[in-house]
Symmetry: C2
Subunit: 299 residues, 2 copies
């Protein structure tokens, strides 16, 4: 099968209790595609400015990622600045400079239009809809979002939500969107709006996967040092969707495994700043941690 | 084997988003012993006033609970009032009237002094130490505590901590005690002070069980309606310790099962106000939910 992802490629300035990094590579599309590349060869859709390092694009290509849909525009790359305190689940956005992302209206290359799996990372819901419209007959569509869009564009967001199969959100986002504090109830409300699956990411507490007739709970890897939580959610989705693309099946038993692989990928991402850990990661390490997850919950 | 518990028997006035109850039966000893009574015949140590309903004591006896160590003193029973908002993990104490608990200095009945398992529920650490001193050769001692004692009596608390095998605490308490935000690190700090096991209760996110050489993660049952979170922690400990007393083994595989039974018992407690759900509960229901827990995490 084939998997496309639309999302951001970015410069991130990040401060955590473990240090500060200025303008390192980040972005939802970057984290997602690197994580997914351990299972399949994702195709990315995004835009960067002339200031984006060519080596990073080469790195993506070397990992088998299709960059045909990556536009290099004149102007500056998207820049996000965020701080984390002692609770890695809480972050404050200091600055968001959309730059080249502001006027980004992508046209999908022809062989992207026949993709089987689509991941609409956290971007403007109008842009998510626009992309989805260009894919002919996707078998499985997933989306992510963030509080910014829930507050500023609830109607366009709900329009996209009704068309997707999987909705990824964190605890705070799903509570905000549904105005329901109980996560199971909130998840069921989302299921009634279209999706067949809701994945509620809970940071250090793992994730809840709610289907129409099952619930699966996946852990976060117990971790002593969360160096940089940025990209954990996108890595989760990347591992999840990448695995499904690889196994070409969406049955419950594969969904469960996909969620564990998602959590495994996220657990590596937070071990270092930015992409560093994903860049050095091997599939052997992923498999080893997958087995550790089994042990962690077995009784 | 035999299991004793010292803790409170109380009147609780509770307000949650699901309603308000005035002066219903509560207390750590009550929840713990009822939960443990599904596995073994716990012996309780506590004090109530003349106003405590005789039917409740009969109910405990009918469940096989040994009430020899329960003193009926002249005066009023301990009274606690607490409120919960939408987040069941957050509670505010409105009032605490110690009443007969104030001058409670129990002498253990002779056949309590040879107990194998001891649970020191959340009471004054000086009282915990006093009781522990009266037990001749316990095989396994566990304790719980709360922020009140961490703040007001840190030294006596650490003295008891050094003598116990299992430390039960919730997230907030362990962070407060260790001044370490990361739960794994905080747990390891506790392990270095004496205990061989730390159980960190995380409410709706389940619990972390840290041993010297293993970590086990146990879920909370995904629950749409937390009617009343009071007693969840004590029910967890009751299921946990009751199961260990029953199987007469403290090896890792049994610890894991004990933690799941603890979480199962807690999950029933919160389904109704006070003791109501525990009173109507059957062992068949406990077994059924235990198997659901297996399914929830299997992949």
């Amino acid at each position: 099968m084939s998997l496309i992802v639309i999302g951001s490629l970015a410069f991130d300035t990040i401060e955590t209790p473990y240090g500060r990094r200025e303008r390192i590579i980040g972005g939802s599309c970057t984290y997602f595609s690197l994580a997914a590349s351990f299972f399949t060869q994702p195709k990315i859709v995004g835009v960067v400015g002339k200031d984006f390092p060519v080596e990073m694009i080469s790195l993506l290509e070397n990992r088998g990622i299709d960059v045909q849909g990556l536009k290099i525009a004149s102007g500056k790359t998207f820049h996000w600045e965020g701080h984390y305190g002692n609770d890695p689940n809480q972050r404050s956005t200091i600055r968001t400079e959309l730059n080249v992302f502001k006027d980004f209206r992508p046209q999908l290359p022809p062989d992207y239009q026949t993709a089987d799996l689509v991941f609409l990372a956290n971007i403007d819901p109008d842009l998510q809809e626009d992309i989805l419209f260009q894919v002919k007959k996707p078998k499985l569509v997933a989306m992510d979002t963030m509080n910014l869009w829930i507050q500023s564009k609830p109607q366009p967001l709900l329009k996209v939500l009704a068309k997707v199969d999987i909705f990824f959100a964190n605890e705070e986002e799903i509570r905000m969107l549904t105005e329901e504090p109980n996560l199971i109830k909130a998840g069921k409300m989302i299921l009634s709006k279209g999706p067949i699956l809701v994945v509620i990411k809970k940071g250090e507490h793992g994730a809840l996967v709610l289907g129409k007739d099952f619930i699966f709970v996946v852990l976060a890897h117990p971790c002593e040092e969360v160096i940089d939580p940025t990209g954990a959610g996108d890595s989760f989705a990347g591992g999840f969707m990448g695995y499904l693309d690889k196994v070409k099946s969406f049955k419950e038993s594969e969904i469960r495994k996909a969620a564990v692989f998602g959590s495994v990928l996220a657990s590596f991402t937070i071990e270092d700043f930015g992409m560093e850990r994903l860049k050095s990661l091997s599939f052997k390490e992923i498999e080893k941690r997958y087995l550790q997850f089994k042990k962690l919950v077995s009784f």
